[in-house]
């Protein structure tokens, strides 16, 4: 007796209830010719009946499935002999319950099977079976009761459409709040872990320290790994890589957007724009090995031939490739805002004897500037949060340097290295990742909010 069968049964009941509700409404109006007597269309009476038959039953069923195991386990443990349970820690008790559960479902049991455990397992099975049956009975009863209620309420004066629509509104609100609540949950969990971190390491050291060396002693007697959590080198590294990438992406993206939106022939645009946007579809890991295997060695060789000392994992290589990745963001967003500049402004400028380039420089770009700036800020926040390219191409050494030919590391790279592999989840090392993540989140959130408000303000200007 699986729950999903019951779910199908309830869904079938909803379909049936729909038909019944509809017929009932038509009948109560006095036949198909007189449906004008009804407040709403017959369909709404059908939906009204279906919702009454389905929603309470499904909600109850969800609740039941969620709580059944807990209640059954509670009952089983309360029937265990006192001397077995007494003095057990929560962990031990959990193990015992697991054993019972395993025995009941026929899996391998860790401990020796005592008669008490056998009894408990039997009881567990019996209770579960009972609960299943009870669920079937109660859920179906609720569904029928709902249908009956809708049946009784159905009469021409019932405002079925309003009821159905407000129910759907509530359902829509519930679904949209899932996304919001998830974000909130992630933020809160990162926040709490960060607070734990700041109990171990002072925020002053974290935000203003210049030495990053997150290796900490695993055992008390270990030497040479005291741990230093000054995140300044990470911030500067992130800034440098982002800056290099924006130096690549902004001019190229902006100029190609101007060409595509103002000069390009329609056919050229139809081909060139999607092609440019393919860049955005390349997985970042591909950019990553392109950066690590092609660009970085190339820059290194170039530097050698010029007599410069270039690290094999230079900030320059990572920044260049990240810049290429971001070009489509800048060009596509700029293209949109440039296209949103009304043709009438261009006409006005042409009618004064301005050339096309004068019109673009003096009218179109200034008018589109807020939107372009917004697009660039969005691209910056993308660059700061980008991980894969820098993991593969930027290196791990936390150098505090202003030399782009040197190796640097970024916030995202450090988060990855702090959390990969087997780690203790309460050491300062792993908690540092959460503090970094929180910082990153706050920075990109601020950038996004600023960018979106700029873009929105600009949109209002022409609507």
């Amino acid at each position: 007796m699986y729950s999903w069968i019951l779910m199908l049964v309830v869904l079938a009941a909803m379909a049936g209830a729909y038909q019944i509700g509809r017929r009932r409404a038509i009948a109560s109006a006095g036949g198909p010719t007189r449906i004008k007597q009804l407040h709403s269309l017959p369909t709404y009476y059908g939906l009204y009946a279906a919702l009454w038959a389905g929603l309470p039953a499904l909600l109850l069923m969800g609740l039941w499935v969620g709580l059944q195991d807990q209640i059954v386990i509670g009952l089983v443990t309360s029937h265990l002999p006192n001397e077995m349970v007494a003095g057990l820690s929560d962990g031990r008790l959990g193990l015992l319950i697991n054993d019972i559960r395993n025995l009941a479902t026929g899996n391998i049991v860790s401990a020796e099977v005592t008669p008490e455990i056998q009894t408990a397992a039997d009881q567990y099975n019996r209770l579960n079976r009972l609960a299943q049956w009870a669920m079937w009975a109660v859920v179906l009863a609720v569904a029928l009761a709902g249908l009956a209620y809708a049946w009784m309420r159905t009469q021409p004066r019932l405002r079925a459409r309003n009821r159905v629509e407000s129910t759907f509104t509530v359902i829509l609100i519930l679904f949209s709040s899932i996304a919001i609540l998830t974000t909130l949950g992630i933020v809160l969990s990162v926040l709490f872990e960060s607070l734990l971190f700041f109990q171990k390491v002072s925020p002053l050291e974290f935000f203003f320290g210049t030495n990053w060396s997150p290796q900490i002693a695993l055992r008390a007697d270990q030497v040479g790994a005291s741990g230093a959590f000054g995140a300044i080198p990470l911030f500067t590294g992130t800034l440098m890589v982002s800056l290099i990438s924006m130096l690549v992406a902004v001019p190229i993206g902006l100029l190609s957007a101007i060409y595509l939106s103002e000069y390009a022939h329609r056919q050229v645009r139809a081909i060139a724009k999607p092609t440019l946007e393919i860049l955005a579809g390349i997985p970042t890991v591909v950019y990553g090995f392109f950066a690590a295997l092609t660009v970085a060695p190339f820059i290194r060789d170039l530097g050698l031939s010029l007599g410069l000392d270039v690290a094999s994992e230079s900030a320059l290589a990572a920044g260049l490739v990240m810049g290429i990745m971001i070009i489509p963001f800048v060009s596509s967003l700029s293209d949109d805002v440039i296209n949103a500049v009304p043709q009438s402004l261009r006409d006005g400028s042409y009618a004064l004897g301005a050339t096309q380039s004068e019109t673009i420089r003096r009218v179109v770009i200034p008018a589109a500037l807020p939107g372009i700036v917004g697009g660039i800020l969005l691209a910056v926040s993308r660059a700061i949060g980008e991980t894969m390219i820098v993991v593969m191409a930027a290196g791990l050494s936390a150098n505090l340097t202003a030399n782009p030919l040197d190796s640097v590391t970024t916030v995202t790279v450090q988060i990855v290295t702090l959390l990969t592999g087997d780690q203790e989840f309460d050491s300062a090392k792993t908690l540092a990742a959460f503090a970094l993540g929180l910082t990153l989140f706050l920075v990109t959130l601020t950038l996004n909010v600023i960018a979106l408000s700029i873009v929105r303000k600009y949109r209002e200007q022409y609507e």
Binding site: S344, A351, G353
Partner: protein, 287 residues
């Protein structure tokens, strides 16, 4: 003059498509298309949008210091014709213009001619006010700046002031020249656009329904302005309002489905139209 046929059956009411088809071959314009002192002369102008002909063999002069109004039902080609006069149609894909349009004896569709300086000579004011999202001052200074008309800031200031004065806007905006032009009211915006056009000292000003987005008071101000501007410029104005045409113009041209049906003194067109289509339009039976 071949007006007899039309004059004879003026009595019929509504126009059937058969009537129109019948009118088509005899599309030669009623009235005198020439003026004694022309600034622009157009001869046998055809305009095509792709395969569709929007203007059919139109000949028309625009005289010095005259306001010429162009009226006609929607889609009759009057705006298209207006946009030919400063080659604004160049920006439209698939638009083709044949025939001759001359500004002071210079063919403006000459291959050797650059449309950019032409548009400084033949300015245009659009249906919807389109000030640039810049300050009021910068809006007016835009044209003089790109054409290098002034040598220093003082000259530019003076030109901006005189343009705004001519457009009758100076007193309203002299204290807030640095505020955005988009913040003005609709009528003020349109006068700002006129000031912007005047600032490059054109010879001809084209106006494409300049008052259609304005209230009656703003319209009255602009009409008064048009009358004053006539002293220095030639003006061609497209309008949907026959009262406006009657109020501001000396000559009126009636367009119908791409044909120029009738041209004449404004008084004569509105009191004694020769062509039946013109009469039907101005008496409100059609269009």
């Amino acid at each position: 003059m071949n007006t007899m046929v039309e004059v004879m059956d003026k009595t019929t009411g509504a126009i059937s498509s058969a009537d129109l088809a019948q009118d088509r071959p005899s599309a030669a314009t009623v009235g005198d298309v020439t003026v004694a002192d022309p600034r622009m002369t157009c001869r046998d102008v055809d305009v095509w949008y792709g395969a569709k002909q929007a203007i059919k063999g139109v000949s028309l002069d625009i005289g010095k210091n005259e306001v010429l109004s162009m009226i006609g039902p929607s889609g009759c080609g009057k705006s298209t014709f207006l946009r030919c006069l400063n080659r604004m149609n160049d920006t439209i894909d698939g638009c083709r213009v044949t025939g001759s349009i001359k500004l002071d004896e210079q063919d403006i569709y000459d291959k050797a001619l650059d449309p950019v300086p032409l548009r400084a000579q033949v300015g245009m004011v659009f249906q919807k006010p389109n000030p640039f999202p810049k300050s009021i001052y910068e809006n007016v200074a835009y044209g003089p700046r790109i054409h290098g008309l002034t040598n220093n800031k003082a000259e530019l200031d003076e030109l901006v002031e005189s343009s705004l004065r001519k457009a009758g806007l100076w007193n309203e905006v002299k204290d807030r020249l640095d505020q955005p032009g988009t913040g003005l009211s609709g009528g003020q915006q349109q006068r700002l656009c006129i000031a912007r056009t005047i600032a490059v000292s054109p010879e001809v000003i084209l106006m494409d329904e300049p008052c259609s987005a304005l209230d009656p008071i703003a319209t009255a101000i602009i009409e008064e302005l048009i009358d004053e501007l006539r002293a220095n410029y030639s003006i061609a104005i497209v309008t949907h309002s026959m009262q406006q045409a009657a109020r501001v113009s000396q000559r009126t041209a009636y367009f119908h489905l791409g044909d120029l049906i009738e041209v004449g003194e404004t008084n004569q067109i509105f009191t004694n139209p020769q062509h039946r289509l013109t009469e039907d339009y101005i008496t409100g039976r059609f269009g």
